[in-house]
Amino acid sequence: MQTTYPVAPTLMQPPSKIPLLEMQGITKRFPGVTALNSVCFTAFAGEVHALMGENGAGKSTLMKILTGVYSTDEGSIFLAKQPFMPSNPRSAQRSGLAIIHQELNQVPELSVTENFFLGRELKNSFGLMDHKKMRFETIQWLAELGLHLEPERLLKHLRVAERQLLEIAKALSLNAKVLIMDEPTTALSGEEVSQLFTVIDRLRVSNIAIIYISHRMDEIFTISDRITVLRDGHYIGTDTATNFSRNRLIQMMVGRELSDLYPSSQRNLGQTILRVKQLCVQKSQGKQALLNLEFSVAAGEIVGLAGLLGAGRTETLEAIYGVPNKKTVAGKIEIAGKLESMKSPHHAIKAGIGYVTEDRKGQSLILARSVSENTSLAALKRFTKGLFLNLKLEQQENLVVIQKLRVKTPSLETPVSALSGGNQQKVVLAKYLLNSPRLLLLDEPTQGIDVGAKAEIYAIINELAQAGTAVLLASSDMPELLALCDRILVMCEGRITGQLSRQEATSARILEFATQFKPQYQETL
């Protein structure tokens, strides 16, 4: 069931015995909450140490103390045996701590070299920038990681993976001894992940300690030497990665057995809800984003959409939901046997469709507005009498659906930005549930969400399907697809290259279909 990453053989040398970084009894209190309670953490030079825990477990608070964003209330830190107490991020950086964020702090309009030396440009004897020297040094540092980028290329033309590696090279040039990677692979394809892991292996050899934070279990087991688990601000334990099983790790993270992460289900399929015929979508310059898609989803059925990054999964959902310009879409979309022209999301919602996007902050939520306003946004019509909204009715129904999905929020009026990722995702689901949709389109519904919330969202999806909703689920999480879906459609380059029933589906077979590239198509890419 595990996704296999094609990774260079790991150098299994035992980590050296002197801890490079030692954090002891770290306690951090905020008014009302103890975010960290006497937490310990050590990292040796040349090891990859995974820091695991659900959202809110205290991982990011611990890292913020380490990088000087917060100060600790109790406890002590030693870096190479010296007491270490960074007062601000800059002093932490000077002491050899570097963090690679999920959101990279780079300037897209500047070149590779300019970004590399941003804020510390080299000058020649006239006090002007020494482009030649900077260019040369950039190439050298990148080569150290086995990376060859044109130094003049603008950053916006690089792929996320390349930008990330540039950031790592920059950290190394700043003499980093401890490198913190916070969810580095969320935006990377499988191949890019293995490239990153190759680089991590090099860093391991050059005796850098890497603290690796990720929700992706497979990665953790592939790359890390040791794992430390935090839960609710408490230190739970540290052990060699090979001593962990997937189940033991989950159990330590959530504090209970999660044998039923995926709900088992008996569902009865009803009439066909969605039928797609010869669906084509054009990208710019006449290129096809989608080519002649034909499939259907029945009531009560969960159909998966698998494929590599850029295979066209998101485009498929968007086309059904009326997101792209009508002129670029051809083909027929039938909802419950009725031909619908999906001119816009407005029409799609009217036809009984809900769409949970891949990017909940960017595309699904109005972050500045309240939980309540976000929940009812797509269903305001239900609460409108004449010209005006019936605020009381709105409040009541919002409360019902929010409670049903067990969204943890201080109140309905709390800005949705204050909620954790899992709860935000539940608000997005709640928004469409208010309309009791016939068809639910889900794009990476559990991305960046902790295990506990994941299980809850799976249960919700399953319940909806049992109640007769048709579900089309696009995901790059293989175990998720294999466990939830009755049928899996595999896409490659905008085409459906295979269909697998629940019994037939394995990750290997999905991958096989997902890599059926068309040779002549590749050349035009």
């Binding site: 407005h346 699904s364 500045a368 009812s376 409108t384 928004k431």
Partner: protein, 331 residues
Amino acid sequence: MIANPTISKRNPWLETALRFQGYLGLLIVFLIGLIFSPVRDGSNLFVDPINQANILRDIAETGIIAVGMTFVILVGEIDLSVGSVLALTATFSAAMLVRLNLDTGVVIVLGLAVGGLSGLINGVVTTWVRIPSFVVTLAMMSFARGFARLALGGLAIPVIAGTGGAPDSFFVFAQRWFGIPVPAIVMLVVAIISGIILRFTPFGRHVYAVGGNPIAARLSGVRVDQVKIIVFVICGVLTALAGIIHAAQLNQGSPNDGVGYELNAIAAVVIGGTSLMGGIGTLAGSIIGAWMLGMIDNILGLNNINSDVQLLIKGALIVAAVGLQRIQRRA
């Protein structure tokens, strides 16, 4: 579940103060006026009811425009053309009254239509051609004033009562009811109706949603372009209303009036706590903002302080108000 720890970090007094920041600011400005007001014959000139009524009259035009501007800024756009559209509609209304001798009601409807049309153009070009509203309304700012000068003659058109002049009913905008200037009453009515629209109608929700995140709004079934166009039309119509009041109060419609009004309106909205990024803000805030600016002008005027100083103070006030809001949102 550990809540966002920074939320509980705040001092409750500071929090309360920040929450009622607008009203507090208004109170502080009022107290400053009270203290620094010149006293004549033992009576404080600033707190005199007639003076307070004058402040309301003076802010009515800015206040009405600021209501329209609030809508526009809430959807994340901007309208720089309001000063010129005010000049256009004031001059147009004056011409209709004096040259064509039309009835007051007809003139008001036509005037509002002209304002609505310019708003429609702003909205349509912004959404359909996808040019930023900053650019579109900058162009309209130039276009509307040029059009007013060309079509209606470059000179001010006097609006005088009596035979051959404007009908008496037009000057209702220069009157007072129960001591309160009619323009101020119009402003309050406009603000209240708009406030109800924002808070109690689906359209109001859509306005906040579009400003907060246009992509999420569209995917939630909101017709983003339609909402933006309506908002620009509202702003145009309200600006025209201010223009008609302007003509009645000044007894003329001049294509050269209204210069800099857009900045006053934007200042009022921003001081009132509406985010220029869109999605956050209230109408009450904008009216309070306009009111504060009006009081400060009045205080300085009563003390015969140079109008250049007024500009300095206005600038400082904008920065202070927005700075406070930053602290509030960060906390």
